[in-house]
Amino acid sequence: MSQGSESYLVSLLGPATAGAVVSLAILLMIGLLARSALGHRRQLRKIREQEDDLALQRKAVDMHAMVKITGVDGRILYANDNLIQTIGYSVEELRGRYASDVFLDEDPRIAAEMWETLRRGDAWTGDNKLRRRHGTAIWVKTTAIPKMGRNGTLDKVITVYTDITDAKLRQQEGPLRAMFDRLQDEVYIFSVDDLRLHYLNKRARASLGWERLNYRSHFLSETTSTFDEARFRERVAPLLAGEVEAVIYESSLSGRPVEINLQLDESVVGEPRFVAVVRDISQRKQVEQARAAFVATVTHELRAPMTSIKGAMKLVASGATGPIPDKPAQMIDLALRNVDRLLLLINDLLDLEKLDNAQTEIRRDPVNLAELIDDAIAHNMGYAQEYGVTFTALPAMPSTLQIVGDRDRLMQVLTNLMSNAAKFSEVGGVVEVGLEDRGDEARITVTDHGIGIPEEAQSRLFERFVQAETAEHKKRKGTGLGLSIVKSIVERHGGRVDFFSIPGEGTTFVIDLPKASDEMSRAA
């Protein structure tokens, strides 16, 4: 209260009353001030509570979702920990860059539509794909909220991403999974990294007795007590290295023989996954066993009488049973030649039957191919003499070239090709056997300069009982199974066989076999 006002009050009310009024006014002012301070404290407390709530909300958002803040130009200003951990880039690597340059897969048209929405001050929502640093991707639900400046223009954008990969996968694979559930085979889908189960079809769940179990929290190792992860990793290594499209092997699951077809699925977003189709092959095994038993029986039942017929005739022809006149001797020779032909046919048929049967063993020994060729030339000298030709190994054969395989079967391949080559050569001709190192493969060639293969017979040459029908070919007829056997054996070794032939000039057969790595040779 100013001094002038006080004098005025004193003159108006007298000194005592004026003093009381002033005191009252002062008390009133103090009261007002105190009340104002109390209200301020309450407000402060309320603001602090709101701040705490906001901090908690932010923590919840940070835990649940990935958040980034970009400037009006789209460059990243901030990324929360969740986003950084999910996509695998550091804050420094992201700051100042465009999300689409680093981790965001977006359609330019949709991006333009989003920015238009944000500039109007409206929020935008949609689905996007985020690429992770190590190559995989995830689907996210995106919510972008604009922060407008004082002049009403866009200042910043706060974007929140929520991982919806699982839901997307279910949506994408829904029809596929319904189909898998109708299959008689078991289907297992599991992650590459930790072999966590993503999906089991109905048959697989039934086989495991897991109809009511939430298998998503389980691992492949829990599906069978005999699971050997090291062995499994070894098996799938070529698949992960991209060397093969599928790994197929036989195994035993709960005592049942099964065939497992494993493939890598990278077609969907998220982690790459293994898809294993497990087929019960109990029935097939029974059929194979029955076939093997049949072959064994036929082998015995056909060869036993052939042993007697051939043996008896040979003994007679040799004179061991007493002298025989010329004419009967000629007839016995004729019969013996046909017994040999019949034996050859029986052996070829049984060989094919055995090779067709997956149960028939193919040895896995290291085989030096140059040595094999030398032995084959020595072994087939009889054919060379019979047809008046010379077998020769081409010069510069790689002497250390090895494959892993069945030496006897490979000898059979060379014998079949070399005897054919001799048979279809002119007297005095040369049959060349070559060997070449072609990187991952070894190439063996058998070349003759004989009558060649007529064009009309070439396309069906590896079919059973197919032989060229010309008079020249009929004269030199075989069983018609030799080349089918060659093809079967070469394919059982993981190789290929082909030929080039010019009628009247000759034929070259080419065999390509996968070379043995040092590791394979050691393991064999």
């Binding site: 064994a296 082998t299 015995h300 060869r303 036993a304 009488p305 052939m306 042993t307 007697s308 051939k310 043996g311 008896a312 040979k314 003994l315 040799s318 061991a320 049973t321 034996l343 055995k354 028939t360 063993e361 040895r363 069945d406 006897d408």
Partner: protein
């Protein structure tokens, strides 16, 4: 004992027995005694006292490998060299028979003119 072994040949097929007898005795000049079954071989073997056992594999009743296993339990034949004859020439079969202690395996049909030489050669290389 002469240089050439006395052979006990066990074979169920009478025709093959006859061919083998001709091949071994007439062509090869070997001393051969034949039995038509594993059971007969077990009964007669101690009296025959062979130097070499020549056994067919697939025989009804007692197979060739069962016959060898049974003979091995008789001390007199615990180490008598044996050769199998079989029409099954698969590696696994040959390996299995060799693991039983056979010197070698001859596949059928055999050549009667060379059978004796083949057996003598295996006998001498043992």
């Amino acid at each position: 004992m002469s240089d050439l072994p006395k052979i006990l040949h066990v074979e169920d097929d009478p025709d093959i027995r006859e061919i083998a007898l001709m091949a071994l005795e007439v062509v090869g000049g070997l001393d051969v005694v034949q039995c038509a079954s594993g059971a007969e071989a077990l009964e007669r073997a101690p009296g025959i006292a062979p130097d070499l056992l020549l056994l067919d594999v697939m025989m009804p009743g007692m197979s060739g490998d069962e016959t060898l296993t049974a003979l091995r339990k008789v001390p007199q034949f615990s180490e008598t060299p044996a050769i199998f004859m079989t029409a099954k020439a698969q590696h696994s079969e040959v390996d299995r028979l060799k693991e039983l202690g056979a010197l070698d395996v001859i596949t059928k049909p055999f050549d009667p003119m060379t059978l004796a030489d083949q057996i003598i050669s295996i006998w001498q290389e043992r």
